[in-house]
């Protein structure tokens, strides 16, 4: 804020830490009433803020949520849809799944939020694209898994690969903020990054050290890339919708 950043993005569950288990029930909050949110909302007067928290939306029902705050108000809340539950990940044991991917207006254009595993669903990326996103913001707490001789975790490339594809084919910015540090021996792989609408990596943070990185986004690049690549103009969501309906109907048979 001292550097007059206009948007700051924190990682997934940034208010509480990632590994919570039964603590989920103790730290869940309702943003409309929470004193913490009152403070953060006040901080968002000049700098838009994206953060992660446990949301108790209905009494006793908890979501892994992220919020976009601006001008002292909550603009949008996203509830994590894809809750990884396998191996060392057990989110669906503790959280209810969200049900939607929506875009919303910000002073930088339309934005969409995703949380960690959401981003690895290309369907979810498509929905934000079809919803008109100029900026896809991903908050994450992705642990590093597997090694490579090159250094870094084997899983690092997975996030960048998706970001490169999504930013290029949706002609929008992708902002990915990932946790660093250790919780119960799991090392979060950090490496937060930003891709521009041409699929170009603009900045990458350290995989191990906590860092605050700044990057200037040239919003004109959105228009420039869409003039070259009319993916957005040529999209046919109604075809996709009908085809999906047919596929889903078949499942139900």
């Amino acid at each position: 804020m001292r550097k007059k950043a206009r948007l700051i993005v924190f990682p997934e569950l940034s208010l509480t830490g990632y590994t919570l288990m039964d603590l989920v029930q103790e730290v869940g909050l309702n943003p409309a009433e929470s004193p913490i949110f009152r403070k953060v909302k006040a901080l968002s007067r000049n700098t838009d803020i994206v953060l992660g928290f446990v949301e108790e939306k209905e009494a006793g029902v908890f979501y892994n949520s992220s919020a976009y705050l601006s001008a002292g108000k909550i603009v949008h809340i996203h509830r994590k849809v894809f809750l990884p539950t396998y191996g060392m990940l057990e989110e669906a044991k503790f959280f209810a799944p969200g049900k939607n991917f929506k875009t919303f207006p910000t002073r930088f254009g339309r934005a969409g939020l995703m949380i960690c595993r959401d981003f690895l669903s290309y369907g979810a990326g498509y929905l934000l694209f079809a919803g008109g996103a100029d900026m896809i913001i991903v908050t994450s707490a992705a642990p590093g898994r597997g090694y490579s001789e090159r250094g870094g975790f084997a899983t690092d490339r997975m996030w960048e690969r998706m970001a490169e594809a999504i930013s290029f084919f949706s002609t929008s910015f992708v902002i990915y903020s990932n946790r660093v540090g250790c919780e119960d021996g799991k090392t979060f792989a950090g490496g937060s990054f930003v891709y521009n609408p041409q699929g170009k990596l603009l900045i990458k943070a350290s995989p191990v050290e906590e860092e605050l990185v700044f990057v200037d986004l040239d919003l004109n690049e959105i228009r420039a890339s869409r003039k070259t690549w009319p993916f957005k103009r040529d999209d046919r969501p109604e075809i996709i919708l009908r085809a999906l309906e047919r596929i889903v109907r078949k499942y139900e048979d």
């Binding site: 919570l20 288990m21 039964d22 603590l23 001789e149 090159r150 250094g151 250790c182 119960d184 090392t187």
Partner: protein, 270 residues
């Protein structure tokens, strides 16, 4: 299976620093055997926490492992960490003098637990956290004494196979003498892990990597060219040592039970 040693070093040092910060400890204590794993662990701790915050406990049984004591002291000098030598023979001998045995495993386990008991006492005395040095190979095949050398507060090495620790050691500049030493649990003079298990660490690690990391079936590993007897022997060791990798089961009676559905992170409140 090849690691990038400088990346692994960075992650492990950050892990050690992070855990000590969370639990509000400055000092680390560990058993220094003069072997590879404890030397690597001491190097990492000295790097992560500064040498003045690391205590190496050298705990021989008489002078049965004479060279090892010297090697451990050389590591401590090289790192400029504090070290302390305590002979565990009086405690172990007192116990067995009344109930003599030739069972080398029982004697070896007793020695491992004697060392653990001293480490925990010193950890209280020095307000220091105990660093574990069990590697992934040992943890998987159960080659360790439960409540003995496996006991610790945190373990930076537990996800590295023995052969990977050797790679890391070379990168860290561990003395060549220790790098070349035959791995030994120090259970009796002349004992070597590989002699006792009947396979080299290279062979064990290659097989474990396929079975565990790559989730291959025994059939697939054998088809890839590994000796059937070796694969079966390793799988048996892994299957039979699950109890060493878990908390003991608690008989569930209530609605909410420790170890079943009273679920909190290790880092709770940290």
């Amino acid at each position: 299976m090849k690691i990038n040693p400088s990346f692994v070093e960075k992650v492990l040092c950050a892990f050690i620093r992070g855990e000590f910060g969370k639990f509000n400890y400055q000092k680390a204590i560990l058993g220094l055997s003069g072997g590879l794993d404890s030397s690597v662990c001491a190097f990492l701790a000295a790097k992560a926490l500064a040498p003045k915050n690391v205590i190496g406990m050298i705990l021989p049984y008489k002078d049965t492992f004479g060279e090892d004591v010297k090697d451990a002291q050389a590591v401590a000098r090289r790192l400029d960490i504090r070290s302390e030598v305590i002979d565990i023979a009086p405690m172990v001998d007192t116990y067995f003098s009344g109930r003599p045995t030739q069972d080398r495993v029982r004697i070896g386990n007793k020695m491992a637990r004697e060392r653990m008991s001293i480490l925990y006492d010193f950890s209280a005395k020095e307000h220091a956290l105990i660093l574990g040095t069990s590697n992934k190979t040992e943890l998987l095949i159960g080659y360790g004494t439960i409540h003995g050398d496996m006991a610790c507060a945190i373990n930076p090495l537990g996800d590295l196979y023995k052969t990977q620790i050797r790679e890391l050691a070379a990168h860290l500049g561990i003395p060549a003498k220790i790098l070349k030493k035959k791995p030994s649990a120090g259970l009796w003079p002349g004992q070597t892990d590989e002699g006792e298990i009947g396979l080299t660490y290279g062979q064990i690690d290659e097989i474990l990597f396929r079975l565990v990391d790559e989730r291959k079936s025994m059939k697939e590993v054998i088809a890839a060219g590994f000796a059937k007897e070796a694969v079966e022997r390793i799988m048996t060791l892994v299957r039979n040592s699950e109890f060493k990798r878990k908390m003991p089961p608690i008989a569930k009676i209530s609605a909410r039970t420790v170890g079943h559905d009273f679920l909190y992170p290790y880092d709770r409140n940290r």
